[in-house]
Symmetry: C2
Subunit: 328 residues, 2 copies
């Protein structure tokens, strides 16, 4: 009677191993093992464990992600590429732009003048954004953006801009969703611009996108019922605008937030998240991988300083990510 | 061999009946059988059936509900009760209100003056709303509202205002959720006011509430990280403001919308919903039950006229609802 028992034991143990491997696959396979990955998985594991002292109810599991440079590549910034393309397309129909220095600068790729305008408050660039993003119906704008994503190609990677998302971040979004987090994009970019592709790229529906937005108006013309985009900005969802956007659109503080180093745009969002009375975690993506992605910092180093001071997790693209892009 | 087969057949049939009854309970038990209930269940059944020509993907199943008079009783309007209570509480600390006619009118219940102000544009009332709703942190306001709901009592029903929701509408919300609809409140009332209790009453989280809202500002004081509510209105989410609110917060047209007769506040929302290229359904609640709830119409009859013209489903509280309130 010994032999069959041994065989059975072996079978059970073997099945157990197979089953347990099958049951708990690595939720973040594109992340290298290390401090950052552990911090994320330990946070998620503990706050979703009902017996844990840091347990968070599913209702309160709100996560907010910056988009440019956090979820997808921002070299170049995709909405800037779109804007320049649209100015060139629209130029023949706008003879009045001939007398506007900023439009000329864009047509001639006069980087010096554009930088100058940006540095002195960006009055000209705002005029450009108005021309390209407003004075049309929501639907017309939506179709323009979809058309851009169908045709345009990233200058370095030679793929559609819908493919320049970071694989580890998409895994993280799905990992959070699987653990009953509500995942939001909270970006300085235009609300309607990102909404056109957020579900296709990230599986994040339009209602979970927060961004900069302008006043809109409802109009019924010839029986059609449309939203018209007006040239009056309501929110610049960047820097201290991000907690405001989160307040308008979500109405509660997140427990998970992720931004990136470049302009200090995500410091306020992470600070706001960390001020949650519930346990929380903050990430700050650092672009330190000139080979696979890009290498750039921040003039005043504010984002990394804030991360160090507040114990936010700095995500090193070079060291923390096994894979950056799907097309690698 | 005949007998056992007959018995088996009987058992299977009996189990089948029990099973099918168990499996398909009436999702709307507080709705009387009839045209309205059938229209709702037929819509939901057909658009969620993959083999149906009117099938709608879960992603596009967006439903928007007005709140006052659609989801809960608006006699009296609860936020007005709150506002008057707060004016009375705050009055001793605001000697400057002694010189303001509108505050005096509220203190003395001078209905004639209040009506007059409302009819002539509501300049005074806006000043009151500003005083009660802005110039404080989000958190302070939230706590004030929670306190109101804990202590105040409905004058007629003698229950907390959290109990004056309509049971049939709560069933409808849950029925839609069970069928993978995303359910939103889209009300003329204040965004932050409703958010304080939307999850407790309806199981609708703060991020699924759309309402009138004012500008906010992010401030860090003494290490605390807060949202400050400013006296500058961004959106009055009523009438043609509702499609705009839906555009800001959701970014897509709903396929299901429900409003009520009183001021014509939901005509634009239903029109916007009906302009969806996908199949859609619209409800218009009519307050015709003076015994169990209230009886009131609309001066110009615009909502019922629009319903008749556009084939919206008029919900008669008297005839369509078996039960109105939980506490009946």
């Amino acid at each position: 009677m010994k032999k069959p028992n041994l065989i059975l034991t072996f079978i059970f143990v073997y099945q157990g191993i197979v089953f347990s491997q099958f049951n708990t696959p690595d939720p973040l396979p594109s992340w290298n093992e290390g401090k950052t990955k552990s911090a994320i998985t330990e946070f998620v594991t503990s706050v979703t464990d009902k017996s844990s002292p840091v347990y968070i109810k599913p209702y309160d599991r709100i996560a907010t992600f910056d988009n440019d440079g956090t979820l997808w590549c921002e070299q170049p910034t995709i909405q800037v590429v779109y804007t320049i393309m649209r100015v060139k397309e629209m130029y023949p129909d706008h003879p009045e732009w001939k007398n506007e220095r900023i439009f000329q600068a864009l047509m001639e790729n006069d980087k010096e003048y554009i930088e100058e305008d940006y540095a002195s408050g960006g009055k000209g660039l705002m005029q450009v954004l108005e021309a390209v993003n407003t004075g049309m119906t929501e639907e017309a704008f939506h179709n323009e953006v979809l058309n851009f994503f169908k045709t345009a190609e990233h200058p370095k990677y030679k793929v559609s801009y819908t493919k320049v998302y970071y694989v580890p971040m998409l895994e993280l979004i799905n990992y959070l969703k699987d653990n009953e987090f509500k995942v939001f994009i909270c970006s300085g970019g235009g609300l309607d611009f990102m909404r056109a592709v957020s579900n296709e790229i990230y599986g994040i529906p339009t209602q979970n996108v927060i961004g900069s937005f302008a006043k809109a108006e409802y109009e019924i013309t010839n029986g059609s019922s449309e939203i018209l985009k007006l040239p009056e900005l309501i929110l610049i969802n960047d820097k201290t605008g991000k907690p405001v956007g989160i307040d308008y659109f979500i109405g509660r503080k997140p427990v998970f937030s992720a931004g990136n180093v470049r302009t200090g745009g995500d410091i306020a969002m992470n600070t706001y998240c960390q001020s949650n009375k519930l346990p929380s975690i903050q990430l700050m993506v650092n672009h330190d991988d000139p080979v696979r992605e890009s290498e750039y910092g921040e003039k005043g180093n504010e984002s990394l300083d804030a991360a160090a001071k507040n114990n936010w997790n700095v995500v090193s693209i070079k060291n923390d990510w096994k894979k950056v892009f799907e097309f690698e």
